[in-house]
């Protein structure tokens, strides 16, 4: 369906979840794209900050429309409005379009920041702060509970079709076990509808292709599962090296 389109350029750091929201939509829509994979060390630096003044991945450049865009929620809304002419991931009707947008905002403000903060206090923060860990783990559970309730008697967030709002939740949910530091099989314990919903999207070829790409790009940069270069023990060490302008590329790769 993208005949004659020039590839859309996606700027990303492979470790973080948010860029993969964009990639999975591109894959589902079968749009042609190319990835500019760069190191986390450079996210707050030029040339990336010329594209995204906020210095966070992802951002896209679309040579077909001469548009530069950042914030994953804004990017996927654009991709669907501009290119999903057959409404594969959206509806024709305005009311449903607004409901999709509502769930996307919920993902952006309710899932992303809470999963991120829980992950921070569980994994990246050097000391264990029980009150903060408890607070953010509870928030994650609360949000999962909201989703479980909404999915109790239906398969998708809006009516009876998978939309880009459903897909937007996948990248963070897919790493929930490393956010909560629990075994993979327990991550959706108590939330069976959320689990079924999530797995019905991760078994799709589009998501699999996106994750194969991710594995390759992680390897290319010598990154471990937690996003840090091999040989670096924790985020403090990583941030110190970045601040000192050191090369963080693993020696053995």
């Amino acid at each position: 369906m993208d005949q004659g389109l020039k590839p859309i350029r996606v700027w990303l750091t492979p470790s973080g979840p948010n860029p993969w929201k964009v990639v999975v939509i591109l894959e589902e829509l079968r749009l042609s794209y190319e990835v500019v994979s760069f190191k986390f060390d450079h996210v707050k630096k030029k040339p990336f900050t010329d594209l995204n003044p906020n210095g966070r991945a992802p951002a896209i450049e679309d040579p077909n429309t001469d548009l530069v865009l950042w914030e994953s929620g804004a990017v996927i809304t654009y991709l669907v409005q501009q290119y999903d002419k057959d409404k594969l991931l959206t509806y024709n009707t305005l009311k449903e379009q607004h409901l999709i947008n509502q769930w996307l905002h919920f993902q952006m403000s309710g899932q992303g920041p809470y999963w991120g903060t829980a992950g921070w206090f569980n994994v990246l923060h050097p000391e264990k702060v029980p009150s903060a860990i408890e607070r953010y783990n509870n928030q994650v559970k609360r949000v999962l509970g909201v989703l479980e309730g909404v999915l109790a008697d239906k398969d998708w967030l809006v009516d009876d079709k998978m939309t880009y709002a459903d897909l937007a939740f996948v990248p963070w949910n897919d790493r929930l076990e490393s956010v909560l530091l629990c075994p993979d099989e327990d991550k959706f314990a108590g939330f069976p509808r959320v689990k079924a919903w999530h797995e019905s999207m991760t078994c799709r070829p589009a998501w699999k292709r996106a994750m194969e790409k991710r594995d390759k790009l992680m390897d290319e940069q010598g990154l471990m599962w937690n996003g840090m270069p091999k040989g670096i023990k924790n985020l403090q060490e990583y941030e110190a090296k970045i601040a000192a302008g050191e090369d963080t590329t693993p020696k053995d790769s």
Binding site: L69, E71, G73, A74, H105, S109, P113, S131, V143
Partner: protein, 254 residues
């Protein structure tokens, strides 16, 4: 705007918070009639079953309206509510740009930036700085610094903007979404004087009659009244707020 046959019936469920006033400020800017229900956090009304029917997430704001086909639409998430209102009612593009234009997408970037960045990060700064029963310096620093960083992103954008607004040549829902948060800088313990363009923008928005009127819905907006209060005085106010009460309840449950 709504014609005679338009079955609109806008009902806003809100409270005096940065996310709540986004919607009332927008409704006032657009000159739309609407009903207001003030949701009382101290009575936990946002978690009552009738409200969860409108917003299963149990937070304000939420909005109901009669859609063009006569059916009811129920919406939550302030960003999505704002986009709905301009999409349907701002046909003259007073505070929005036409769908599909470059400015339309730029507004979306800033709107999502507020929803996923400024709001949650300044919210965590408030939690650690004002409400948390235990003072965790690391949490306070981390989220105050992130709030400052986000302010500086706005500061640079405003410094290079000819109009003094975030996108294009006029006030948009991107500015409106950020305003209540920036106006609450002092509560989060951040100094606005470090950000002169941002401070000028904050004052400039008050010149819009709808912003001025809408910020006082459902009750008087106090962030700016309190800007000269000391941190100790603000802490006393925080100690009496429903948020602190909720946090200590959590503690007692243990």
């Amino acid at each position: 705007m709504a014609d005679n046959k338009d079955p609109s019936d806008i009902h806003l469920y809100t409270a005096a918070t940065p996310n709540g006033i986004k919607v009332s400020m927008l409704l006032e800017e657009l000159g739309l009639p609407y009903k207001v229900t003030d949701i009382s956090f101290s009575k936990n009304e946002q978690k009552e079953p009738w409200f969860l029917e409108i917003n299963p997430n149990g937070r304000i704001p939420a909005l109901t309206d009669v859609f063009t086909d006569g059916s009811q639409i129920r919406l939550f998430e302030s960003g999505a509510i704002m986009q709905y209102l301009v999409d349907r009612y701002d046909t003259e593009h007073k505070v929005s740009y036409p769908r599909g234009s470059k400015e339309y997408y730029d507004v979306n970037s800033w709107l999502f930036w507020q929803m996923g960045g400024l709001g949650p990060m300044q919210g965590q700064a408030n939690h650690f700085f004002r409400y948390a029963p235990e003072k965790i310096p690391y949490g306070i620093n981390r989220y105050q610094n992130e709030t400052r960083r986000l302010y500086s992103v706005m500061e640079s954008q405003l410094a290079k903007s000819k109009s003094g607004y975030l996108v294009g040549d006029k006030l948009t829902i991107a500015d409106i979404a950020c305003w209540g948060w920036v106006a609450a800088y002092h509560w989060a313990g951040v100094d606005i004087k470090e950000f002169p363009h941002l401070e000028a923008w904050m004052e400039k928005l008050l010149q819009h009659p709808g912003i001025e009127k809408g910020r006082h819905v459902p009750e008087r907006h106090t962030s700016l009244d309190w800007k000269n209060l000391s941190q100790e005085e603000l802490d006393k106010r925080a100690a009496n707020s429903w948020v602190r009460t909720e946090s200590s309840k959590d503690q007692e449950k243990k």
